[in-house]
């Protein structure tokens, strides 16, 4: 009975040794949670894709866009307070729209509050980092904010 147990233990020990050596020479077989890059493991990389990236505009974003457009029209009509009210609604409906921030900045600029205008301009940049056209507009807006004296 004892020799039988010993034989099983010896076999197990042998197996562990073989597997252990195999592991040393072949490297670990990791349970990779996320795929490693082909080269330069561990090197930081800018990732452009996020969970919110959407190929198609969602109905919610479409609805928010209607409000953004109304806000823009109020701005064109020289009604910054009305514009802000509706752009806030748009922002609540679609918190990831850079346009809302852009127009909010524009509205605060119109009201002469350059601190709030600068804040919204800065926030808009987060959502336009891949859009060169809007980034250009943002930079222009930033310049206008810098030039405007507080009312």
């Amino acid at each position: 009975m004892n020799s039988k147990v010993l034989s099983i233990r010896s076999k197990s020990f042998l197996m562990v040794c073989i597997l252990g050596l195999g592991w040393v020479f072949t490297g670990c077989a990791p349970a990779v949670l996320t795929p490693l890059p082909a080269e330069h493991p561990g090197e930081p990389r800018e990732t452009e894709k996020t969970e919110t990236t959407q190929e198609k505009i969602s109905p919610r974003a479409l609805a928010a866009l209607q409000l953004t457009d109304q806000g823009r029209m109020y701005l064109e009509g020289g009604q910054p307070d009305d514009a802000i009210g509706i752009l806030e609604q748009a922002l609540n409906l679609n918190p990831t729209s850079g346009m809302n921030y852009y127009y909010l900045s524009e509205a605060w600029l119109m009201k002469g509050n350059i601190v709030q205008a600068a804040e919204f301009n800065r926030l808009a940049e987060i959502y336009f980092k891949d859009d060169s056209e809007w980034l250009h507009r943002l930079m222009q807006q930033r310049e206008r904010i810098k030039k405007q004296k507080p009312l």
Binding site: F13, W23, T34, P41, G85, L91, N92, Q116, E119, I126
Partner: protein, 775 residues
């Protein structure tokens, strides 16, 4: 005879001599009295004629195709907005048709400070709880967005508890005027305030029918009585009423008198509130503006003037019908309606709209709002100026919040009888606030379990230890020195605080001695958090926390890392918004706009933001807090049916005195607190007591669940690190490489030192030794 004649002449002469001055004196007195009355009348009528309670409105409701909604909350909302259910397609404003897959609405007019929309018929088509399409029924065109009008949620009543909507005489249709005049004062435009013919006719009619069928008072007399006099029936009062009527008639045009009268008259009772004026009565009885009243409805309201509660269509339908017919017949007799009109309307029933008593929805929210309004307006102004106050409140969220809290607390009491209390004021309590993190809009607030028992607002007034719910601010402080992959010590340590030893402990015993920052926050590990706090520096933590504008005292003691300093729940909730709002701290907004009774804006509040941390740090914090829900202390959320990405943190204080959960998405944030006011133990953790309430709330609000997560901002990079060392992972060597977020410039520069070839061999040898030693 001559002598007799002479003596009569003398008597008459004497009488005349005495009487004339008396008459002149009396006339002068009356004139003086009328002059006195005129100044009294002028003073009363030239200023504010009525106290109009200010109204508080919720925010508007947005609907759009593709939106998931809670059908029962939505239906309830429509009912509160005054939409009436019909079994046919809606034909008039405020009518509603509902089936399983379709809601057809004839919208009310939408009048907001900045815009006006006429009511139009629309069709909302559903698939389950999802809005498939919204169609404008007049044009057949699809609508990408539909805005429902704000809901009237509170009135600031004065001591008289009267409610009225003022109408101009130009707005009142002729048939409404005719109905009122026919039954109350048909010769209104002919007399001068007193109508002797009317009195005689009333006397004759009443004698003929042996009952009081008609009153002799003119509309002007009624107005004088209602406006200036007591209802007491005395000769003096009657005389005063007479003189006052004559004075009013000389001072004002007929139409002006009629307008005041129509706005003044008492027309019913809505619970404890008096319904005054024809404008309010039109809405109270028929759910429409006076301009839209039909002949049937006009006659019904006119019939109420004599006895609004006696003839109320809500209480005495038959009596009301008879009275309405009396008005219609009177109109016909005067020739103000045709025979055809009379015959058409007489058989019609009186269809009232139904009503709800003026309640106080969201009482704690309203108290919080009132505190702000009281800075701007006196209580007298609020109860008399007829202001329109627009707020951020979402009544659907409020209903869901109240329900979730109630059910959650009942569940806890049921599961643990030790939580039961006989005294209702000492019962287990809870509080909840829901915000939109980007704008700081407060959507709902529940400050306690039962407002009628205690008005103490645990969201805005309570100061409670946050426990682990404070940890995110500690971790944020460390992001300049540490990364989510940095390794912290999880070994017991002793700290000295004010000369005394302090030995923090973990919530549950743990064998692991080293944990990553991510794991430490996800699992709310106390020892590792204190280790982080000491590495970062306590002053740094206090300085970071102060950026979040906590008004309570925070001191640089090691226990700050475990949330030992009290906070106000609303401030904690607001502070969490920063993580969900790209690093900006929003001002908690409840009041949006105040308009005077003419629609002129008096006060306007917009979202106000201030950057307190970078978008990159806020994003990393959200990522860490998402791990709390994915793999940490709030992991049970998944089993409760929440499948969308959520960031959050549980909190439990010593002896289970407080249970917290703060959870958020990019769209919505809610804070839940559960505890006893007297600090008794609730024998449950934040995950066990507060988290299920959050889940129930979110499950009831599909309209706020987009399923989105935060977009990675500039300044954040990703890298693959070894989960054991926190250093850059070695390909095919590190057993558990993980992808981690870092602030740009904070990515570890060293490769893993645990899983190098040398260390691997050493580890194998160690393992083999250990194995052999087991024999």
């Amino acid at each position: 005879m001559t002598k007799k004649k002479r003596s009569i002449g003398v008597v008459l002469k004497r009488l005349f001599k005495w009487l004339l001055p008396l008459v002149v004196l009396m006339a002068g007195g009356i004139l003086l009295y009328c002059w006195h009355l005129s100044s009294q009348i002028d003073q009363r009528f030239s200023g504010r004629r009525w106290r109009i309670p200010s109204k508080v409105f919720s925010d508007t409701t947005l609907l759009y195709p593709g939106q998931q909604i809670n059908r029962s909350l939505f239906n309830e909302k429509l009912r509160r907005l005054g939409y009436r259910q019909f079994s046919r397609d809606p034909q008039n404003k405020g009518e509603l048709y509902t089936s399983a897959s379709v809601v057809k609405l004839f919208l009310h007019d939408l009048t907001l400070p900045s815009r006006h929309r006429e009511g139009v018929p629309v069709r909302i088509r559903f698939t389950g709880n999802r809005i498939e399409s919204i169609t404008h029924l007049n044009t057949g065109e699809p609508m990408p967005i539909l805005e429902l009008e704000p809901e009237e949620v509170m009135l600031f009543f004065g001591p008289d508890r009267e409610q009225r909507r003022l109408v101009s005489i130009d707005q009142v249709p002729q048939h409404v005027i005719d109905a009122v005049l026919a039954i109350e004062d048909s010769r209104f435009y002919q007399h001068k305030g007193l109508d002797p013919r009317g009195i005689l006719r009333a006397m004759y009619t009443n004698l003929r029918h042996a009952s009081i069928r008609q009153g002799g008072s003119t509309i002007t007399q009624q107005l004088a009585k209602n406006y200036f006099l007591t209802p007491k029936r005395t000769l003096i009062r009657k005389l005063k009423e007479l003189f006052m009527s004559l004075t009013i008639e000389t001072m004002y045009e007929k139409n002006e008198i009629l307008e005041i009268y129509l706005n003044e008259i008492y027309l019913g009772q809505k619970a404890s509130v008096a319904v005054s004026g024809i404008g309010e009565a039109s809405f109270f009885y028929f759910g429409k503006s006076v301009m839209d009243l039909s002949l049937n409805e006009a006659a019904t309201i006119a019939g109420l003037i004599r006895g609004p509660n006696y003839y109320s269509p809500y209480i005495h339908k038959e009596r009301c019908l008879k009275r309405r017919n009396m008005v219609l017949n009177a109109m016909y007799e005067k020739g103000w309606i045709s025979d055809k009109e009379l015959k058409t309307v007489l058989p019609l029933p009186i269809k009232t709209v139904g009503y709800e008593s003026y309640g106080k929805i969201a009482p704690n929210f309203m108290d919080y709002l009132s505190d702000q309004l009281n800075v701007l307006y006196s209580p007298q102004d609020l109860s008399s100026l007829g202001l329109s106050i627009y707020t951020t409140l979402d009544s659907q969220v409020q209903m869901a919040a109240e329900n979730a809290l109630k059910r959650g607390l009942e569940r806890l009491e049921k599961s643990n009888p030790a939580l039961g209390r006989k005294d209702p004021k000492k019962r287990l309590q809870g509080a909840l606030v829901v915000m939109q993190p980007k704008t700081g809009y407060i959507l709902a607030m529940v400050g306690g379990r039962d407002y009628s028992l205690t008005q103490y607002n645990r969201i805005t007034q309570a100061r409670r230890q946050p426990g682990s719910a404070f940890k995110p601010f500690v971790y944020l402080s460390g992001l300049d020195k540490l990364t989510p992959a940095s390794i912290l010590s999880n070994e017991p340590a002793t700290y000295e605080v004010d000369g005394k030893e302090w030995r923090p402990q973990n919530y549950a015993a743990m064998t692991v001695k080293r944990v990553s920052v991510r794991q430490a926050l996800a699992e709310s590990i106390n020892l590792a958090t204190v280790d982080l706090a000491m590495k970062v520096g306590l002053d740094q933590i206090v300085s970071t926390a102060k950026q979040f504008e906590f008004s309570t005292s925070l001191k640089p003691y090691p226990s700050i890392a475990l949330g030992s300093f009290e906070v106000i729940p609303l401030e904690l909730s607001r502070a969490y918004c920063v993580f969900a709002a790209d690093g900006v701290l929003p001002y908690p907004l409840s009041l949006k706009e105040v308009l005077d009774e003419n629609g002129k804006t008096l006060e306007r509040r917009h979202m106000r933001i201030r950057q307190v941390t970078t978008p990159a740090k806020a994003f990393i914090m959200s990522s860490l807090l998402r791990s709390v829900v994915e793999t940490g202390t709030a992991g049970s959320m998944r089993a409760m049916g929440i499948s969308f990405p959520v960031g959050g943190k549980t909190g439990t204080t010593n002896d289970y005195r407080d249970a917290w959960f703060v959870g958020y998405t990019p769209d919505i944030l809610a804070l839940i607190w559960v505890g006893f006011d007297n600090n008794d133990s609730i024998f449950a953790s934040g995950a066990g007591a507060a988290l299920p309430i959050w889940v129930n709330l979110m499950n009831a609000l599909p309209q706020y669940v987009s399923g989105d997560w935060f977009k990675m901002p500039p300044g954040v990079v990703q890298g693959i690190v070894c989960s054991e060392s926190g250093q850059l992972a070695l390909k095919n060597r590190c057993p558990h490489p993980v992808e981690e977020y870092f602030l740009a410039g904070h990515v570890p520069s060293d490769t893993c030192q645990i899983h190098t070839s040398e260390s691997q061999i050493g580890r194998i040898i160690d393992e083999l030794k250990g194995f052999i030693n087991t024999f």
